[in-house]
Amino acid sequence: MQAAPETAKGSPWYDPKIRGYVYQALLISVVVYVGYAMVSNVSQNLARQRIPFGIDFWDTQAGFDINQALFPYTARSSYGDAFWVGLLNTLLVAAFGIIFATVLGFLIGIARLSRNWIVAKAAMVYVEVIRNLPLLLQLLFWYKAVLEPLPRPRDSIAIPGGALLNNRGLYVPEPVFGAGAGLIGAAFLLAVFGSIAFYIWAKRQQAASGRIYPIGWVSFGALIGLPALAYVVTGGPVSFNYPAMGGLNVRGGITVYPEFIALLLGLTTYTAGFIAEVVRAGILAVSKGQWEAADSLGLPYTRTLSNVVIPQALRVIIPPLTSNYLNLTKNSSLAVVIGYPDLAQVFLGTVLNQTGRAIEIVGITMAVYLTISLLTSAFMNYYNQRMALVER
């Protein structure tokens, strides 16, 4: 900024610098005043309604039960425990949702660009329908219109593999580990590390000599074969506790509650519609010359897609993909409408109702979602930097 020429000296009000200071001072005083007014109003209102302020309710006995808890939780547990149960449930559904939505979204996004007319049109209809309906309606549809009319436990649908499905949830066999089962786990870990090592070695070999090794088949074989070998060697220490009818309800097995299934289905299908569009845009952003170059090298369609197009498309795809992951996590708070015990339902719903501590609870909940959002975007920014085009 150059100093104004002396001849143009007018009223200081027309100096942009001074104006800037005035505006900012005004803004600060307004914010401070509003903040002060809010605090004093809150303290007056709370005093009148005789609501104390603070998080001393954290260790108080909650007195309500939660059906799905990842760690032992009973009605005697504290509100703090309820908070952790809710948070873990939110993270659980978000993690599964992100995985499934990514897979489904990529499939549908690629299908929309398929040369097969009917597949492309079907993918288009899916995307248009899913994206133009409110998520809340879709959740209610899955929960009330699909899962609720399932048969009663007595007439459970048997799914091949020993699982049972009825209107109280999905019951899957629970593995029971006997002596020596640790060896199977060790074999699995060995297979994982072995596959990673093989992957790195094979990639180096390919870069050096151009030879392509069957990475997929080798790691697939190792991941299945090694644990299977360990299973046979140790004499089969793993058995399954199959769900079976007992009295009026199903006994045994692991229960996946219908609320969880509905929320997962809803979040997955909804977000997949958005991810599909992101993927499609990313693939279309790869220039045609890349396709033609791959064609002229004689690469088949799948290899062109996986080795040439998608790696380049990922650069375009990752930033909007991140915001879709964040949206999925935030949308998981819609669990409230179908009663899945996530953070919003347990903490913002039940705990707020019971304690009446509006400010503390809404504040904590917002802080948690904000932290998740900031952490996810920080991680994805780091990943994005690694994937970005490296130029000389």
Partner: protein
């Protein structure tokens, strides 16, 4: 030809027999071969897709169209045992409860007021979105100024409503005349007779006359408490409050975020990132349970006003990011050109930058609005009777308790939301194409 005897033996002496023509290079058969059965994998996918379509689509049609019950006065019309045939969707239920889905529990005799608001809303939407309708500036004044105030007064009613209506009409009229007067002083003599001004005067005069008519004529409008409002009325109200508030506020936030003044920038960034980092539900809960604590007891906002505030704040942050994208797309030369003409910050933004920036981001704004429209369903959670909630609530009505009521209600809601959102997205695509046409010389 005798030369051919000496010529190389590999030259054909007579023409080969004609090859059969390729089976087809156009027509449906070829098309199917190229697009449906190109490779074995392709064929398999086609067959799977056809199987899926063949199992779902006819079943849906059978349920929602052929087996559906279209008229009736109670659940008996939709019960299989009473009708004696397979019963699909119970559209009679939707027909019977349609009034409730549109107006909620709004007083029967006063529903003309809602219709009037719907009419005003429809006119202003067409006015703003259809580019062949002239006088956009009057349309903006109507949609962002007159309509929100007058709609609220009309819907709520009460003794003082027409009074305020009258005042608002007079104030706007005075403001317009003053604006025209000052324009006249600048040497635009025909400003009063311009059709644009005439329309504006017409609208404002109609407002004043209506206020006077209600004041002098049939007496005051009875109050309809907001607790009775519901259905599409509330859905539209929340969505339009969101857009009316979020557009100006979002523009202000976007400008703040791009400002060189550090404190203004800091506050804008904090607000935008905070709101975008939390789910709408937490914002709605905040508006519902915390807002009454933040203000003095006697100011405690109306139960319907709280989610309106929450949705408006939420939408502003998203709108701000959309507008920021547009601002960033304007080349520096435009700013510099404006500055070299001696325009100050306000004039530069209002006359040069924002008109271009907002034009580019119309598709983005419409997309934000689609998201906002879908998100209005979340007010269900804090007990507001929007369209979704009225449908959900009527499932509890024993008069229409049938096995297919729920499926019918959800289908009706889906059709409503789909038509609204899909229509908006088509509009945004058409604008996008129109904007791209200007670039494609």
């Amino acid at each position: 030809m005798n030369v051919s005897a000496n010529a190389s033996a590999y030259v054909q002496a007579q023409s080969l027999p004609e090859l059969p023509a390729p089976s087809s290079t156009k027509g449906p058969i070829h098309w199917m071969r190229a697009n449906l059965f190109a490779t074995p994998a392709n064929t398999l996918m086609t067959l799977v897709a056809i199987y899926l379509i063949a199992t779902t689509v006819p079943a849906l049609f059978k349920f929602y169209v052929f087996d559906a019950v279209w008229s009736g006065t109670g659940r008996d019309a939709c019960l299989r045992d009473k009708v004696g045939r397979e019963v699909g969707a119970c559209w009679a239920f939707v027909g019977d409860r349609l009034q409730y889905f549109i107006y909620g529990s709004y007083t029967q005799a006063e529903r003309w007021r809602v219709n009037l608001v719907f009419l005003g809303f429809g006119i202003s939407i067409v006015w703003l979105l259809w580019d062949k309708v002239p006088f956009k500036s009057v349309g903006f004044l109507f949609f962002f100024g007159i309509l929100p105030i007058s709609a609220w007064m009309l819907l709520y009613g009460g003794a003082r409503a027409e009074f305020w209506f009258l005042i608002a009409g007079f104030a706007l009229l005075a403001w317009t005349i003053w604006g025209d007067l000052s324009a006249g002083r600048k040497g635009e003599p025909d400003v009063f007779t311009r059709p644009e001004s005439l329309i504006r005067y017409g609208v404002l005069a109609a407002m004043v006359l209506f206020g006077l008519y209600v004041q002098i004529g049939p007496g005051e409008l009875p109050v309809v408490e907001t607790g009775l409002w519901g259905g599409i009325l509330v859905t539209l109200l929340i969505a339009s409050a969101g857009i009316v508030f979020s557009l100006p506020f979002g523009i202000a936030l976007a400008l703040g975020r791009r400002s060189k003044l550090p404190i203004i920038k800091l506050f804008s960034v904090i607000f935008i990132e905070f709101v975008r980092g939390v789910p709408l539900i937490t914002v709605l809960f905040m508006a519902n349970v915390m807002l009454p604590l933040f203000v003095p007891q006697e100011w405690s906002p109306d139960r319907l006003l709280r989610p309106l505030i929450g949705v408006a704040l939420f939408a502003s942050a998203y709108m701000a990011e959309v507008v920021r994208g547009g601002l960033q797309a304007i080349p520096r030369g435009q700013y510099e050109g404006a500055m070299s003409l001696g325009l100050g910050y306000g004039k530069m933004m209002r006359l040069i930058v924002l008109p271009q920036a907002l034009r580019i981001v119309i598709p983005g704004i419409v997309n934000t609005f689609i998201g906002l429209f879908k998100d209005t369903t979340l007010v269900t959670i804090i007990g507001i009777f929007d369209f979704m909630k009225t449908i959900e609530a009527s499932f509890a009505d024993p008069l229409w308790a049938t096995p297919t009521t729920r499926a019918t209600g959800y289908a009706f809601a889906a059709i409503f939301y789909f038509i609204c959102c899909w229509g908006m997205s088509r509009y945004s695509i058409s604008v996008e194409e129109k904007l791209a046409a200007g670039q494609k010389r």
